[in-house]
Amino acid sequence: MAISKEIYSVMEAVVGSENISDDPVICESYRSGPGGYENGLGYERVMTTIPGCVIMPKNTEEVQKIVKVCYRNDIPYVPYSTGFYGPRSHPHVEDALLIDLKRMNDFVLDEKHFYVEVGPGMVYSPIQEECMNHGAYVVIGGGGAQASAIANLIGDGWSPLSHRIGLPHRRILGTEMVMPDGEIVRMGSLATSEDPFWGEGPGPDLRGLLRGYTGLRGCLGIVTRMAIKTLPFQPERLEPTGISPNTALALPEKRIKWINFTVPSKEAQVTAMREIGHAEIGGAVTKVPLFWRAIAKAECKEEFWDLWGKETEESIANFFIVRVLLIGFTSEEQMEYDEKVLMDIMEPLGGIARRTKPSDESWIKNADSAGMWLMCGGYVSVDYVIETLTQSVEHGPSYAEVKKKYTPPLMPDYGDPGWFQSFEMGHQGYSEFLVYWDPDDNTDGVDQFYLDTSKMNIRNRTYTSLLGPHQPLYLTGPKYGPNYHEFLLKVKDEFDPKWMSHPPVPLAHDVFVERAPWMQSMKDWESPEDLPE
């Protein structure tokens, strides 16, 4: 139902006339595509549309009032923080209200208790800068320095720094959320006081509402405030240097340095990561996709293809690298000690330290996900796996095998197994597989590949996070557990019986498969006939 003049004026009274618009030009600017994460793919083309109206609240109270008006008048709405996350965070139904949260960018840093408190409009890089200025640091998630910290922590929120800092759900502290009916739920210690220091509160831990598995794209409410745990850092300044596009943080080498090692085999790579974790040294231990190295070296996309074109399946299969970030958290002496331990680990494994620039371009402050689009124009991370180190390393090659079937349209990558790293001091391993394509090509194969990887993971019984919100719930839900999908839908029905908050999530991918003719031959699972329109 389109928003009537009367309801528009009610909302205008909440936020002021300058913060609401149904002008078609304003609404067009909130189109998900044509470029960006997942844009240009079938899901974006079939499932998204521009909003009927856009509103920009400034605080929780305004969000609450807006949602109550929507709920009372059956107006579907979508929360939107930075809009970077492609079609999943844009309207899926006609005449939806898009609630743009960018004005809610409050920031409070508690130096003594090591946390920051932010609104959904606050992105990562300013948080990291403020933290580093006060002796602390956080992970800038793989979503990038420009991602809303709240949105990213709900969904993903990890990076190579998670080797030491750990997984994101451990860093979500007190949280405030406006439920679909407009009521406020406070989680953690915010449930009983204004102190957001604790993630767990009295009674059940409600953080599952945020995550659903790894986030449900706003279909269970809108997080308006979150405290994020920070950890102590070393004290010296990381100085920005250079002029864009060649900028970097100059590292104080006696306190922070990257060392890149080549090792002779995948086994040595895994052993190195595990041993480094056991020794409890390092701020990050990672191995990135090899084409990222070509991106870093190239001055432009044409040069990237020149460089990448020189690779072969053999060269990719026989190149093993381990990147280690050492941080002297407490002293230069600690740094020296850690480096000696590292060398003691790497030497018997045949690790050779290569010349490494004394700077950081992409992980500490400027997690550079936006650079992923340079070489092709189309990109998604197909899946993440969090497993043991030895199991997760098997994940990339299995993806690479499936990928061959869909190349082209996918970019030729010579079997590159993707990104692989240590989490939580080697207690867990992480694998992420990324695919690229030319958006001007027929992308049906990319959509099909996506779904095929889900089936592969089900066959292999592999833990995957994107299996949840990015795949048909009736395909993946029964595989998590016999009634995961039913449980999830009951939670949705309980909190949002009218399905006004970002419909038809969490059934959006099910609907997509029904609507996209090129997907239907792949449907070999049961789903009800009464999926949302």
Binding site: P34, G36, E130, N246, E302, W305, K310, G371, C376
Partner: protein
């Protein structure tokens, strides 16, 4: 490289060129925007913290996505696809923008999309479609037509700024192009400039009949009018035989160095003369010992990077090529990313002035926040221009600077107005005045 057929899939190549009179040339760029908002945020390596996080005045002031480059790319793309038509809001979105280039360098940090050219082409399209420019711009265009300056002042009085005791030569290697603002409004800038020439012993001339550079015409999409001025001015300059044209106006500098070549479809090198901003010339003079900065200017000073001297000032080269698989272009394109703008010279000069304690603002160089005055903004959206200057002044106050210096009369005027309106205790100077004070005492 390896056999191309092994690596690249066949795809027909599409021809395109850097011609802003046809928006189709930039639909590819519009279609590849990923909404990372690198155009709007301060580059993350330099992100100063929870204050001063953005560098796009338009997106910061108006906040809806439409006002950021990411919104304008979507609007332009929808127009190109025939899904969206002009209305009042579209015009406001397209013109309430300083075209300051922050978005362009931001995008080229990661994606190499031609954002500035896309925005320029949108304005040309607005004029072609009969809806642009804004009424205030049309008035300026009338003034330029009738009196050869953007204020409608008497053309006969254009050189009245010349100070006593300084007479330009009839013929010289160096030609000083004062521009409208320094000729009529900020005469102190033109006067300081020629005093610097005198102190350095540089023989200079003026154009026999100087006309407006056409910055506003070009910036608001009045392409044909701007092109006519470019043809006239370049021809007049060539006739003088001068080898170097010096401006003390960043906007004029960009016009001569970048946009005249763009309008005339030639490279900057093909102009046949060198274009310098005063700071490039003075920096060279100071470093060669021809000019001595001897008298102290005791102040805690900060420097504002004028957009047209920095991220928008790299030389222009026409481009025609083909785009194929994955968007790769041939022939190879030397992209203008703002990296070679004039960043160091003004800082070197100010640091060489005795007594100056130069402190940087949180947003500097390619991340600087535009003053808000240029490229038709102040004429059509005076409140927005004033807001942008006030926002930038917050930064000046944050670092405790007593003096704010820039290299463009547009910046100086806009900041000075904001200081006056707010009753702030900040001295606003053009760099020519600082240099002059140090050489003359």
């Amino acid at each position: 490289m390896a056999n191309e057929l092994d690596v690249r899939y066949y795809k027909p190549k599409e021809e395109f060129k850097f011609d802003i009179t046809d928006m189709e040339n930039f639909v590819y760029d519009m279609s590849r925007c990923i909404k990372c908002k690198g155009c709007t945020w301060v580059e993350h390596t330099y992100m100063p913290g929870a204050k001063f996080m953005t560098r796009c005045p338009s997106a910061t002031k108006y906040e809806f996505d439409a006002y950021g480059a990411y919104g304008k790319m979507r609007i332009g793309h929808a127009m190109a696809e025939g899904k969206l038509d002009w209305n009042e809001k579209a015009l406001e979105v397209i013109y309430a923008c300083t075209l300051c280039g922050a978005c362009d360098v931001g995008c080229k940090r990661n994606l190499d999309l031609e954002i500035e050219l896309s925005l320029e082409s949108l304005r040309v399209k607005a004029v072609q479609d009969g809806v642009g420019p804004m009424p205030a711009h049309k008035k300026v265009a009338e003034k330029i037509k009738s009196s050869h300056n953007c204020f409608g002042s008497s053309h006969e009085k254009r050189t009245d700024w010349l100070p006593e005791g300084i007479t330009p030569s009839q013929k010289a290697d160096v030609l000083y192009f004062a521009g409208c603002t320094a000729s009529y409004i900020n005469k102190e800038i033109a006067q300081s400039t020629v005093r610097i020439f005198k102190a350095a012993g540089t023989d200079f001339m003026l154009m026999p009949d100087e006309w407006c550079c056409g910055n506003i015409l070009f910036s608001v999409g009045l392409y044909d009018d701007a092109k006519a001025l470019a043809e006239r001015n370049v021809e007049e300059m060539r006739k003088t035989g001068a080898k170097t044209l010096i401006t003390s106006c960043a906007e004029g500098y960009r016009m001569w160095k970048v946009d005249y070549p763009k309008l005339l479809n030639i490279s900057t090198a093909e102009l046949g003369f060198e274009v310098l901003h005063l700071v490039e010339y003075v920096d060279e003079m100071v470093k060669s010992g021809a000019l001595e900065l001897k008298n102290p200017v005791n102040t805690r000073m900060t420097y504002h990077d004028a957009c047209s001297l920095t991220r928008l000032s790299e030389p222009w080269t026409p481009y025609e090529g083909k785009r194929g698989w994955m968007g790769c272009v041939e022939p190879r394109l030397q992209r203008r990313r703002g990296q070679n703008g004039v960043y160091a010279q003004p800082r070197d000069i100010l640091n060489a002035v005795p007594g100056v304690n130069l402190v940087e603002m949180p947003r500097m160089k390619e991340n600087a926040f535009c003053c808000g005055a240029g490229r038709g903004t102040k004429e059509a959206f005076p409140d927005f221009a004033a807001w942008a200057a006030q926002h930038r002044l917050e930064e000046v106050k944050e670092i405790g600077a007593e003096t704010l210096v820039s290299t463009c009369p547009w910046c100086k005027n806009n900041f000075a107005s904001a200081v006056k309106a707010d009753g702030d205790d900040v001295q606003v100077l053009d760099i020519s005045e600082v240099i002059c004070a140090s050489i003359e005492g």
